[in-house]
Amino acid sequence: MSKEREVIHSRIWEEIAEPDNPFAAATCYCSGYDVYGDLLGKVSWIEYLYLLLKQERPAPGKAKLLEGLAVAVANPGPREHSVRAAMCAGVGGSTSASSLMAALAVGAGQLNGAHEVVVAMTYWQDCGKNLMAWQKRLKHPLQEERADIWLPLEHPPGFDPHGASCATPVRQTLALLAKYHSEGVLTWLQQHRLELEAVANCPLAMSGVAAAAMIDLDFSVQQGEMLYLLLRLPGAAAHALEQQEYGWRRYPFFAHGLKLSTEPQL
């Protein structure tokens, strides 16, 4: 008695099997395009990334915007928390996968992390290009009544709570990306950055630029979160490999940095 086999449903991917093996694909189609027979050699990595997420070919402006964002966030540098997490794996000789898993776990967070991008994107969805709405939201952020695995955000999403002024790379990235979509929220953000920073009481951060770029790319909040996680991995990988070479003896341990207190702490 044969039962109908369960299937994976997909709008993204289709495969035609090799004649001699139903488990091996001879042809793979991504949103209708023959990946190895047509796309390979023609399509850029960024265009393919966009196609995978959106199931459509990006307009030239969109591809440029995504490419600019990808370069801007690819390496936050070895001082950044998610990269430091990857380097902790690297210096100890842990697996490469654990380096990236560490970078993802820390980079998923709410201080310059992917979940901060999620919240910032919901702000854009709710407030759009309305300064009054932004001022209201920044002054009175939404409060979730129920407890969650994510803790309440401790600073305005997309802004740097420890910043003294908007960092040069953030301004440079915003200026470049805004060029690709003159009607988009990035351009509006550039025009109103100072007013928003005044209300937020802290400067715009790269996560805020990334969130606006995701909105201009018409990505959903979930797509934006995934992309932010993904696009920041190259720097984590490079620095983990570098520190693996240097070894743990040359990596900070904060030898004299820990002060053990007997005081109760909150």
């Binding site: 709008r11 189609y29 129920r146 940095g257």
Partner: protein, 266 residues
């Protein structure tokens, strides 16, 4: 703007009462000497002490161990988190990567950590309101209206949760079956079984209630639960390792049911 005030303050300076390693000498674990003061504590006790800062009683240890043993670790490789461990096994990835990823996956919305924290949160919130004189039926109805479901009630696939009976037997044996949150959990079930809801309680409500009765906060309970599925993951990983590589539920090419755009050229 506060600027980098906290960054200056904490540069090479981390004051903590959580613990420290004195190389070659001793370890301080939340203010206690690990090798002398905590040496007889079972691992579950150390875990709970690390999370709550309180040494659990013997009966509490048996309860929290018992919850893990009876309710958390089903070695069924079809379950989403266990499947990650089995997939890691079938491709011969490492055990730590398998278990690390599977535990991260356990922080799910439809099972695992999110329903856990939401269940204890609902019980604590409801108990607090009831103590102020609110009506239980109104609270339940309001919650359902607002959030569409109540974590800990209703279960896909089957109505009966097979874990409740053995866990309640343990709770009875330990004298923990009359706590206010546990009584509340059953009272909520009674309300939800009436009328059109017909929602039976599942184990998430019982374990959350037992934890709340022992004084665990929302996040203490969530942290206690983070590793709880682990014991079911190892057998799934090991089972896949014993079989030929790649043999875990292989999928033919035609098991992808394509529902996307028609074929086209780039």
């Amino acid at each position: 703007m506060q600027g980098p005030k906290y960054l200056f303050e904490n540069e090479d300076h981390w004051v903590t009462n959580i613990g420290a390693w004195f190389p070659g000498e001793r370890v301080i674990f939340r203010g206690k000497d690990l090798f002398h003061e905590l040496k007889d504590l079972p691992w579950m006790g150390l875990l709970l002490y690390g999370i709550t800062g309180k040494i659990p009683s013997d009966k509490q240890l048996r309860l929290f161990e018992g919850i893990w043993t009876l309710c958390t670790s089903y070695p069924d490789p079809r379950l989403w988190n266990n499947r990650v461990a089995a997939l890691a096994g079938t491709v011969r990835s490492t055990a730590a990567l398998a278990i690390g990823a599977a535990n991260a996956v356990s922080e799910a919305s439809i099972y695992g950590r999110r329903p856990d924290i939401r269940a204890i949160d609902f019980l604590l919130r409801t108990k607090c309101q009831l103590d102020k004189g609110a009506d239980i039926e109104e609270l339940v109805s309001k919650e359902l209206k607002k959030y569409k479901f109540i974590p800990g009630y209703g279960r896909p696939i089957t109505r009966k949760d097979e874990r409740i009976e053995p866990l309640m037997a343990l709770a009875g044996e330990l004298g923990f079956n009359q706590g206010p949150h546990l009584k509340l959990a059953f009272a909520i079930e009674e309300i939800l079984l009436k009328g059109r809801w017909r929602l039976y309680m599942n184990i998430a409500a019982v374990t959350a209630a037992l934890a709340a009765d022992q004084g665990l906060s929302r996040h203490e309970y969530y942290h206690y639960a983070v590793l709880s599925f682990s014991a079911g993951m190892f057998p799934c990983y090991l089972d896949a390792l014993k079989k030929p590589e790649g043999a875990f539920f292989p999928l033919r090419c035609d098991r992808i049911k394509y529902e996307g755009k028609p074929r086209c050229a780039w």
